[in-house]
């Protein structure tokens, strides 16, 4: 049970942490200053979610690991985030398509988790549901504008959508969720979110004059700690300083 809950919290926390790390790359690299500010907001919200979830995971686990121990001292195979969020996103279209997918999923998830029988988790969800509503709104806004903007932006957005789509399905993978957590009303089965999340995304891409990609799902196994090659570099960069100076405070 404890192990199952720790794992569940780590998976959601890792999603948020790794996504935040990618989002922060955009600060000073966005198409305009307003977007630098928005990207920082998004990344900060996700980082806040990650910190709450990882701190709580450490508490539930009971081995005295802090949010920083979990973020900086675990190896790649112990990270449980979906591969969707770990891949590089140096194209603004890709960033917005991915945010649309991730925030649509996170929003549905957290909305459901506000009713969790675990009151700490419900509390985290209560804050996150408001944040992700804004993230989703931001992503929708951009996907619409770019999908239905210029000919070039339309082509770029369709390409971004085609590239990201195979990684969407992993968000609905429920193999890492302990059944007892579901029975006790602590966790939400990600598979149960599929219809509403895909419906939400389909609505936006339709209005954005984009076509739903006809591509196969990627073999994405982040929930088992099997990541893409890009994950190692992300962690190497994020963790190196903390690991170079063990046992100190910053």
């Amino acid at each position: 049970m404890t192990k199952g809950l720790t794992r569940y919290l780590l998976a959601l926390g890792d999603d948020a942490l790794v996504s935040s790390q990618r989002m922060a790359w955009w600060i000073s690299r966005s198409p305009q200053i307003e977007e630098d500010i928005a990207m920082a907001n998004l990344g900060l919200d996700q980082l806040g979610q990650a910190r709450s979830l990882l701190a709580y995971a450490g508490e539930v686990e009971g081995n005295g690991r802090s949010e920083d121990d979990l973020a900086y001292l675990r190896d790649e195979r112990d990270f449980l985030n979906v591969c969707l969020v770990e891949r590089e996103q140096k194209d603004f279209g890709v960033a917005m398509v991915r945010l649309l997918m991730f925030s649509a999923w996170q929003h549905e998830l957290y909305a459901a988790l506000t009713g969790s029988t675990d009151l700490t988790l419900a509390g985290v969800a209560g804050k996150a549901v408001k944040e992700t509503a804004y993230h989703l709104d931001h992503a929708e806004h951009w996907v619409l504008r770019l999908g239905d903007g210029t000919e070039e932006s339309h082509l770029r957005m369709q390409a971004a959508l085609d590239a990201e789509w195979p990684w969407l399905a992993e968000l609905f993978d429920n193999s890492f969720v302990n059944e007892d957590l579901l029975l006790q009303g602590i966790a939400i089965d990600p598979a149960s979110l599929r219809e509403s999340v895909e419906g939400r995304i389909a609505g936006v891409i339709g209005r954005a004059t984009l076509a739903r990609p006809d591509v196969a799902d990627a073999l994405s196994r982040g929930r088992e700690g099997r990541h893409t090659e890009q994950m190692g570099y992300l962690l190497a960069e994020m963790q190196h300083l903390a690991r170079s100076h063990p046992e100190v405070t910053w």
């Binding site: 690299r29 966005s30 920082a40 770019l146 210029t150 100190v248 405070t249």
Partner: protein
């Protein structure tokens, strides 16, 4: 103006204001604020545009050296604080571009001037951030120097600039405290952390002192800016104020400022400090600093790679407007 050093300050001020509109002189005399619709001399407007734009550019380019450490911040709490700080700097850039726009220029044109090198940004950002401690040193010394420079600008004669500076200064003092706190933690941490902090202060001290500009006897535009109520104190006065403020803070940090000549001068009521070698500053201004090229390339690349996004947003907005017109 070099030949007029024998003038009294009042006479100098009066001469600077010759041939300016009566209403403008009246506003300056009564410490009133010049607002966008008020009459103002062209040279005053041009000087303000140049100064506010350079200030805005500095906020924006200033995001890069500290942004360099967001991905590597050594704790999640520090990462969050740093992201919020760099975000604040983007906000400062926005307020300042908006203040410049009240003078009849466009943000897009100002950005073009930055990208093509016609307008400058503060040279301090052409130094690299080599270690995590540099994030602390920048917060403490660079934001600290910025505060000393900018607090008097809250009383600047041009209303929109003065008001933007009030907001900016509040946030800069947060940044300065956060930087101090980073260095304090490092200097009371492991020997390696302490050495990292000392090294950062050693590298940033003189560049921070140079942020106040050249010495007064080599600062050709100061007199006019003072007469216009844009500048309130001389470069050297501000630099002295910064040194006096910083010396006790360095002691509290248990770090040494890299100037053996710093000592309290009872007669002057100020700290003495070494004469600054400005040759380096002038090299950096000329474009030969360690990061001049990198900062500009980063900024220009982001701008160019974002062009399709801005174009699409404009096209979408035009379609929406046309659609609404039709309906």
């Amino acid at each position: 103006m070099y030949g007029n050093d024998y003038e009294t300050p009042d006479a100098q001020r009066a001469r600077q204001l010759e041939d300016t509109p009566e209403s403008f002189r009246e506003l300056l005399a009564t410490e009133g604020r010049v607002e966008p619709r008020d009459e103002m001399p062209d040279a005053y407007r041009r000087t303000l545009v140049r100064q506010i734009a350079q200030h805005a550019h500095s906020e924006i380019i200033g995001m890069q050296p500290e942004g360099n450490w967001i991905s590597r911040a050594p704790s999640l709490r520090r990462k969050a604080i740093l992201m919020a700080k760099v975000q604040d700097e983007a906000g400062h850039g926005l307020y300042l571009y908006a203040a410049a726009e009240t003078l009849g220029v466009d943000r897009a044109d100002l950005l073009d001037a930055l990208h093509s090198g016609r307008q400058k940004y503060s040279s301090i950002f052409n130094y690299p951030t080599l270690t995590w401690a540099d994030v602390g040193a920048i917060g403490w010394l660079v934001d600290g120097a910025a505060i000393v420079n900018q607090v008097p600008l809250c009383r600047c004669s041009y209303g929109p600039y003065a008001r933007a500076m009030v907001r900016v200064c509040k946030e800069e003092s947060f940044h300065q405290r956060q930087g101090f706190e980073i260095l304090h933690t490092l200097s009371h941490g492991s020997p390696a952390q302490k050495a990292m902090a000392q090294d950062a202060v050693d590298r940033y001290w003189f560049p921070a002192l140079m942020m106040f500009g050249p010495p007064d006897d080599n600062s050709p535009n100061s007199a006019r800016s003072m007469a216009w109520g844009i500048k309130r104190h001389s470069n050297d006065d501000l630099r002295q104020r910064f040194v006096d403020m910083t010396v006790p803070q360095a002691q509290a940090l248990d770090l040494t400022l890299p100037d053996p000549e710093i000592r309290w001068n009872e007669d002057r009521g100020h700290h003495d400090f070494a004469e600054i070698d400005f040759t380096e500053l002038f090299e950096v201004i000329k474009g030969n600093g360690p990061c001049n090229q990198q900062r500009m390339e980063h900024k220009v690349r982001a701008h160019e790679e974002g062009a399709w996004v801005r174009e699409a947003a404009a096209a979408f907005a035009a379609k929406q407007a046309a659609g609404e017109g039709a309906a």
